[in-house]
Symmetry: C2
Subunit: 420 residues, 2 copies
């Protein structure tokens, strides 16, 4: 059904968006119980169709022979991963319903009753790469918050995504709602991606899930409002007088528990007074990690290679750690201000005053004292499943769950009041 | 100091932005009492320098001889307007402080304490047209919420704005903070506007205040995050069985109390059963208003001229009213869905069920029952002074005050917890 003709493509995209918009209106009048029922039907559907989903994924895997191991791993589905998709949908359905929640309200002197009510955003777009589980996670989050969703995955995952979307649409239909609530864009060309990002008022928000290239493309080309799930160039600063045993355990956790994710640690800043002792400990514990440091670091840790400016600026997403020895908390904060991507920044300290200053003066989605950056995650923080972690300041900052997929509406009720 | 050389212009802009960023950090550590003190110094300064401000404005007025009356009116300052600027700043300083407010917080099973804290956005940009009072209003709101501000007004108001900014900077200096908290961009060329909209990460949010051309330019060219204060194509629907005396008073208020603003009414939708009686009443009350209606309207109201599609779609901002007679609430809601700009939509009804449906099914920043759209205004709703009324759904929807100029930060405190 895909056409490469831009005008035709746009027409098809706009039609999908219009149908999603219209279906969302019917969902908006459905109760939270019905929305939970849709999610339960989706979970059951995915569970029941596991073999079909794996077969579709197998087609994608066959075509993807030339990918790197990491890429193939992201694309692959197996029974365990399908089961995780099922339980993720059920977790979302167990979250408290936020649609219709009264955020605040008051009565004016003239008797008007004012309240702010939480309402769905409308039509949410998600553009993503190879992970097929994003298809079901994002759909469950969007629908539970009362929205329709438009999905644009990668060409490599097309068979997997089509199979998953077919199951999700079947579940929606089973509950008596409109399957058009989920729209899958099967034009996976670059032109198709651009048209998707430029749907104008047909889409209320676009959330990109993927690597720096995708994020940059969205930053450059999107004409619809976006929420950016950006880089995590996360720092851990070990203060003078810090408990080095605690520091070592936290650094090991933040750097190595899962190095390829955005809340992993990328740079260690360490106060000069504890640098030697800390680097000795890390030399043992982080045996598989490559150290890239400044001159002082290299003097204290023989295996460290020289760090470039770029090493401090980038997200390695790998077993590489940039290290810098600093003379003071101020120097650490200045370094973070310069290089931080605004994701998660941690201090390890025994000083009350320094903990307070760090929390107050470092500007990021999350600041942490004496714990691991790996906790900055919707699930870990008890906020429920997340559609991403926002590194922007508008609308949503940090883990984005159901609430971040809503907006508010002001309701004003009176009996004829006019403005004087 | 302005240079027309694009590279030089950019360099100067970036330097202004950097200085604003650095000054904002010093403001972020200042207490709410200090911020209120800055605003009081600003108010006193404007009061004390009224004559100088009027003289500067006079220079702008002289150069603006060829403007329309409405444009000249917007540009003009007089003693009353300067006094209004003073009291507006004092009103803002009386609002509760939101910086540092703990939005929510909880303790995790592993003992980590989590809280979300309200923090300033950082550097706020405002691009606006001829009203000089925006200069002081926007600055007071931004600074009270802990932000720095970059102002880019029109060339016509340059003398007025420079004089106001000089007073504001003097007030900041008096309190011992950095005058760089307020940056005025004196390059008022179109290229200057574009460079301003494309400051990248140097600016945290850009808020345009002005007409459709400015808004369109920002929509098209801004690379920084924006909050759009958009059109208000506001509808009033008069239901079957409505109290027509109440309806008439509300329509008169919504249409004529101040027709040139975004919360004024633009289209009347009226149920066919009450259309004749209502239009008779309006014929008398809205003597100065031009009616543009559909066929039924024209049959019922002889002075009505024919309404085009465009008349239903646009914001007249004038004593013109589009009218459509509808057969049902559904038809009214469909019309609103098609033409609404998502600002403010009202129903006049005696029916409980229809009021509920209208509130629930119409998607706008504000929905009103039995009252005037003119109340959709930060001051009228008791939310304090506003920097604009957002018609977008992300971050801020409806009147934007101090709270909308902040974001949140997650603070996580522990004693060595790591992720398993």
């Amino acid at each position: 059904m895909t056409t490469q003709n831009p005008a035709g493509m746009d027409a098809r995209l706009h039609e999908l968006a219009q149908r999603a918009r219209s279906a969302q209106r019917s969902l908006a009048t459905a109760s939270g119980a019905i929305r939970a029922q849709v999610l339960e039907a989706m979970a059951s559907g995915i569970h029941a169709n596991c073999d079909e989903l794996l077969a579709a994924n197998e087609l994608d895997m066959e075509r993807a022979a030339e990918l790197t191991r990491a890429q193939r791993d992201r694309l692959r589905l197996d029974a365990v991963r399908v089961a995780a998709m099922v339980s993720s949908i059920r977790d979302i359905a167990r979250q408290p319903d936020v649609v219709g929640q009264v955020v605040d309200g008051w009565v004016l002197g003239n008797g008007l009753r004012v309240r702010r009510v939480r309402v769905p955003l409308g039509v949410i777009g998600v553009i993503y790469e190879n992970r097929p589980n994003v298809t079901s996670d994002a759909t469950a989050l969007a629908l539970y918050a009362g929205n329709a969703i438009m999905l644009r995955g990668s060409s490599l995952a097309l068979n997997s995504n089509q199979a998953i979307v077919a199951v999700l649409k079947g579940a929606i239909w089973e509950v008596g709602l409109e399957p058009d609530l989920v729209a899958m864009v099967d034009d996976t060309t670059r032109a198709g991606a651009l048209a998707f990002m430029q749907l104008g008022s047909a889409m209320d928000v676009l959330i990109p899930r993927g690597g720096p290239e995708l994020i940059d493309a969205v930053r450059q080309h999107a004409s619809v409002p976006t929420i950016i799930d950006g880089d995590g160039n996360c720092h851990v600063y070990v203060d003078r007088g810090a408990n080095l045993e605690m520091a070592t355990a936290i650094i090991e956790n933040a750097k190595t528990q899962r190095p390829g994710v955005c809340n992993a640690m990328e740079t260690l800043l360490v106060h000069v007074d504890v640098a030697g002792a800390l680097l000795d400990r890390l030399d043992t514990v982080l045996g598989e990690v490559e150290f890239r440091g400044d001159e002082t670091t290299r003097a204290l840790c023989k295996r460290a290679v020289s760090a470039t400016e770029d090493d401090y600026a980038r997200e390695f997403l790998d077993l590489i750690l940039a290290v810098k020895v600093v003379g003071s908390l101020d120097e650490a904060i200045d370094h973070i201000r310069r290089y931080s991507s605004g994701h998660s920044e941690a201090i390890i300290t025994e000083s009350y005053a320094n903990a307070q200053r760090f929390v107050h003066e470092v500007d990021a989605a999350a600041v942490l004292v004496n714990t691991s950056t790996r906790f900055v995650d919707g699930g870990q923080l008890g906020m429920g499943a997340e559609i991403g972690i926002s590194t922007q300041k508008l609308h949503a900052r940090g883990p984005m769950g159901i609430e971040q997929l809503t907006t508010t509406k002001i309701v004003i009720e009176g009996e004829g009041q006019i403005r004087r």
